[in-house]
Symmetry: C2
Subunit: 239 residues, 2 copies
DNA sequence: ATTTAGTAGTTCTTTATAGGAACACTATAA
DNA sequence: TTATAGTGTTCCTATAAAGAACTACTAAAT
């Protein structure tokens, strides 16, 4: 349902489910008393009152003072921006104050969960300073469109090996693009000949991939990609 | 303590306290097995194992696969950025999909909590398109330095009424700045002659302020500020 | 007297934390 | 070689804290 997915998103910003419900109710109805909110949402009044004051504490609702106190929802953009700004501040603090990491070679790491893998891919792309080889289905590359454009904007060489002609013009013209056979769900990525990632992505929590900075592995991995490109050149021709 | 404040910040990014502890431990020690983490932190082993897999799910730890599985902390910047990027995505979704707000006049709203009030001030400054009048202690203005500079950068007229000469050169030269008597904790703000905020800020959760878009109030409020400025001009002279 | 507004308190459920028990594996000392 | 200690992991129970549901009570406004 539309409704419940909105509620989930709101929860990500730190509300409980009940608070999210009440926030949404305020959002739709405007100024309401606790009593009215309870009527609208079916949530017991006692909880409504405590949730309302908690929403006010979190900066998600304002109090419209009068003879009787009514609450009003803080505009969603304002609320989200506040939260995000806060996290940025906390991030800066953490960067300064966290005890230094014991630097260590990156061996072979397993990353689990589709979202985390995609995050890693994005972070790798952002680290790229020279060249990026990416082999993946066209649909996955489409998902990364923005990031890839930024990678290009930072003057990286970008080589894409995929299974369908890409929709994006800039991507098509500014990257070297090989169109080969069906990629399925496999993703392979090499950054600056220093880091590599490979895995089968189904979009699920159970997805796993291998990430490494080991030279030997990367050398072999690069050869494999290079061969794939040659093969495509020989059979269908470079796109 | 340093330690515990770092833990709290990490919790803001969605970890439980225990997970934060373990994350920090991984951060300091590098690659560790669950067993080792338990030894280091004193957390029971069973909980360590579940917390570790939960950290991996959240994208805060990677698995360094080997004969025995070791975990390694995801660099803090990477982790924070992922979270913030996610929230930005969720924000966009919410902006598009949330049922439209019932537009209503802004009456008199009470905002509670120092942090929320400061957030509102920041949001008001960002909305400004013409002019900003701000009366507050020099220390509070210092806290808002960045935001005020951006307000100026957007070609707004900025009038500051405060109690000490400001440190920031740009702020001093590009805004109209009145130095009067001790401001204490009172803050007054008018944006584009349309919105006003006033309150006493002690930096606590109990702080409250009044925010309004009511014309009558703003007119009176503006007069009050104007008088204050005249008074300063007559006694000490404009700075 | 009934609707509205608000507070207080109880119960139930879920999540977070704490710890024990069991099991498998690997060193190494007797 | 086998007993013993140490390591790595999973599963299961117990307690504590947070969230949610619901009931009861007060008090003003209609």
């Amino acid at each position: 349902m539309e409704e419940s997915s909105i509620l989930e998103k709101l929860c990500l910003f730190g509300m409980t489910r009940q608070e999210a419900n009440i926030y949404l109710c305020l959002y739709q109805c405007g100024e309401l008393t606790g009593y009215e909110v309870a009527k609208q949402t079916g949530i017991s009044r006692s909880n409504v009152y405590s949730a309302l004051s908690s929403l006010a504490d979190r900066g998600a609702a304002y109090l419209a003072e009068g003879s009787t106190s009514k609450y009003i929802a803080v505009p969603i953009e304002e609320f989200c921006n506040n939260k995000i700004r806060q996290l940025n501040t906390e991030k800066e603090f953490l960067l300064k104050n966290i005890p230094t990491i014991k630097s260590q070679e990156i061996g072979y790491l397993t990353i689990t969960g589709y979202k985390n893998i995609k995050d890693k891919v994005i972070n790798m792309l952002r680290e790229a300073r020279l060249r990026v080889y990416l082999s993946a289905s066209a649909s996955f590359i489409q998902e990364l469109e923005e990031e890839l454009l930024e990678t290009l904007a930072r003057k990286n060489k970008l080589v894409l090996i995929t299974d369908q002609v890409l929709k994006n013009d800039v991507l098509r013209s500014e990257s070297v693009c090989y169109i080969g056979e069906e990629k399925g769900n496999s993703v392979r990525l090499i950054i600056d000949s220093s880091y590599a990632l490979t895995g089968e992505l189904l979009g699920k929590k159970e997805d796993t991939c291998l990430y490494t900075g080991q030279e030997n592995f990367i050398r072999i991995f690069k050869d494999a990609l290079r061969n794939e490109m040659r093969l495509i050149e020989l059979t269908k021709g470079e796109k």
